[in-house]
């Protein structure tokens, strides 16, 4: 029981810090001290935090490298955009909050379904092969999205493949994406999604299923010998992460008037993976901090103008070299010689 209480306290502290950060941000926004560009970054920061935490569930907690996480974000963004338009037109739901919440749920649901469909073949593979297949699926999703057309005609939704001629108003237009999205996302909702994600991921890892997931990561053969159905638990982590990414995608999609399918390229998957790795694989807090900082970093590097992506690349390489340098490692181990529980997954990781 002692351990239970400890993990509960840890979770409460996590929620507390997030709420505190939210209040600080909200206050600076209200006081008008936050710069315009940074204010515009608040929702993307929430989106990328959720993306990173959910990807960490796959990469860190279940130990499988996924290179197609942006695919689920794209499914969520498009289903969210379509769903919100449909809700307005078919049911005349005017409340933006209700529509946003329902759209995020729809985004999560459809991304979750995509996660199941993709997980069935993907999770039969292992290691690098699994990674390359997630990459392939990410690209397939993007490719298919490029060919999908949706229209709304008096509350009825029409879909077509590769054929822009549809009755009513076209809302998703193949390669140009969704063009007439109503901006619904708000910073408080983004923050609520972060809390929800933390709630799901932290509670999952501290439960029977979470332990089974981590067991399959740490030692697949021993986990099987203990009667744990490895595929089932890998699937659980994968689909949960996909659904969360879908919700983040819906939040992202409803944050501007257009959703461009090109936004969810391989690069975006990689970007989120970078957050996870820099934050420490399996370390949820690390993911949050890395996602927030690295989303803002290109803005902060604005002074370097043309050189900013170059600086970003160099920073990335140097950080990787430094964090893996044996000397710096042993030094930091000595400084923080009590290993934090969240960092313990670092060794497991997707390296197997």
């Amino acid at each position: 029981m002692k351990k239970l209480k400890k993990s509960a306290i840890n979770s409460l502290i996590s929620y507390g810090i997030v709420i505190l950060a939210f209040i600080v941000c909200q206050l600076t926004i209200n006081a008008g001290t936050m710069s315009r560009s940074l204010k515009g970054q608040m929702i993307p920061i929430c989106v990328y935090i959720v993306m990173a935490v959910s990807l960490n569930l796959v990469v860190g907690i279940s130990g499988e490298l996924s290179l197609g996480h942006a695919g689920f974000m794209s499914v969520g963004a498009f289903s969210g955009a379509i769903f919100s338009a449909w809700l307005l037109e078919a049911f005349h739901i005017e409340s933006t909050v209700i529509r946003l919440i329902l759209s995020m749920l729809a985004g999560g649901l459809f991304a979750g379904i995509a996660g199941v469909l993709i997980g069935i073949p993907v999770l039969r593979l292992r290691g690098d092969y699994l990674a390359i297949v997630t990459l392939a699926f990410g690209e397939i999703i993007r490719n298919v999205m490029n060919c999908l057309y949706f229209s709304l005609d008096e509350g009825r939704l029409h879909v077509s493949f590769n054929n822009p001629v549809l009755p009513g108003k076209l809302i998703v237009n193949g390669p140009t994406g969704a063009t007439v999205v109503q901006k619904l996302s708000t910073f408080p909702m983004g923050f609520a999604l972060i809390l929800f994600t933390l709630f799901v991921v932290l509670n999952l890892t501290n439960s029977r299923s979470g332990r089974a997931i981590m067991a399959t990561r740490d030692n697949r053969i021993a986990a099987e010998a203990m009667g744990i159905n490895v595929t089932k638990y890998k699937m659980m982590a994968f689909v949960t992460a996909a659904a969360l990414a879908g919700m983040a995608g819906a939040l992202y999609g409803l944050n501007s008037s257009t959703v461009d399918p090109a936004k969810f390229k391989f690069d975006t998957s990689i970007l989120v993976l970078v957050f996870v790795v820099l934050g420490g694989i399996g370390n949820i807090w690390g993911s949050i901090i890395a996602a927030a900082l690295l989303t803002v970093l290109p803005e902060l590097l604005r002074a370097f103008s043309n050189y900013r992506m170059l600086v970003y690349a160099i920073v990335l390489i140097l950080v990787m070299l430094a964090t893996n340098n044996p000397m710096i490692r042993s030094l930091s181990d000595r400084l923080f010689h009590r290993k934090k529980p969240a960092a313990r997954a670092q060794k497991g990781g997707a390296s197997e």
Binding site: L125, Y129, F137, E139, N162, I270, V274, L321
Partner: protein
């Protein structure tokens, strides 16, 4: 029928380019067990160097290619030495992220040097064409050179890994790094040489690719890079004939898929076939399945 032949030849030609790129991926993976995501960008650098050598220095095409190969070889060795070698003991993911960092670095450097505006790559491989079926089937010299280059490279590489001392060292290192080191093989040097060869091949691939699709941009290498990587996995990563086979099949599937199924879904078809193959042969077409010892 003639159009099918045309697609077939185009497919083999594109597949040959993929195969040459895939060789670089597969050799590096086989020996260093890492996914070198920056490989696609080395192709781009190779193409830019060749472009500069021809357009600004007016070098003859062959010399320009050699020039590109030399620069890329050096680049490969430098990247390996500075970015990857310090991470030899690190986790696979750390190396992967570093490779992604290197990829960003190369792309953004290229953008600063050559700007993001696409350059038109000069057609240096066009010396004429063979016309068949009363001119309805045209095989350009470019196609022939691409396919020939592919065959020559494969033969040379097979001989190199099979017969030379360095090639044998490579195979030893890829089997078991530790044991190879104990047998007196200089592992670091072997890995450097592998990167050098892979990068030189990338330069050739860059020139061949840009001769066929003459728009040259800093992002030119990414998509062919990803596809060639797919090809390497497809054929069984780590296997040289596998990379060849995977590359050729991938090129064929892409061209035929675009021609007969759907232009928009060309890439999706390629990746879907990859997935199906991996489900039935989890180690790729020619890869050896690995069994974990219990």
């Amino acid at each position: 029928m003639v159009s099918f032949l045309r697609f077939l030849i185009n497919g083999i030609s594109l597949g040959s380019v993929y195969a040459i790129i895939a060789l670089g991926y597969t050799m590096v993976y086989g020996i260093a067990k890492m996914l070198n995501f920056a490989h696609g960008d080395v192709i781009m650098v190779g193409a830019y160097i060749a472009f500069c050598a021809i357009s600004y220095l007016s070098l003859p095409p062959l010399l320009a290619v050699l020039c590109a190969m030399a620069v890329c070889t050096a680049l490969g060795i430098i990247i390996e030495g500075l970015a990857y070698r310090p991470l030899r003991q690190a986790s696979k993911l750390a190396v992967l992220i570093t490779a992604i960092g290197v990829s960003y670095l190369l792309q953004n450097s290229a953008q600063l040097i050559w700007s993001a505006n696409p350059k038109v790559f000069p057609s240096i491989l066009n010396f004429g064409a063979i016309k068949l079926f009363d001119g309805s089937l045209v095989i350009t010299s470019q196609t022939i050179i691409t396919i020939a280059a592919n065959i020559v490279i494969m033969l040379v590489l097979t001989m190199f890994t099979g017969k030379t001392k360095m090639g044998k060292a490579m195979r030893a290192v890829s089997e078991d790094k530790g044991a190879a080191e104990l047998m007196g093989i200089n592992v670091n040097r072997t890995i450097s040489v592998t990167f050098a060869i892979g990068s030189a091949l990338a330069a050739i691939a860059g020139v061949l690719l840009c001769s066929a699709y003459p728009t040259l941009q800093p992002t030119t290498g990414s998509m062919p890079g990803i596809k060639a990587f797919t090809a390497a996995v497809f054929g069984g990563i780590g296997s040289i004939p596998g990379a060849m086979l995977g590359g050729l099949l991938l090129g064929l599937i892409e061209i035929l898929g675009k021609a007969y199924v759907s232009t928009e879904l060309g890439d999706a078809i390629v990746f879907a076939v990859l997935i199906v193959v991996l489900l039935f042969k989890p180690a790729g077409l020619l890869g050896k399945p690995m069994r974990e010892k219990v």
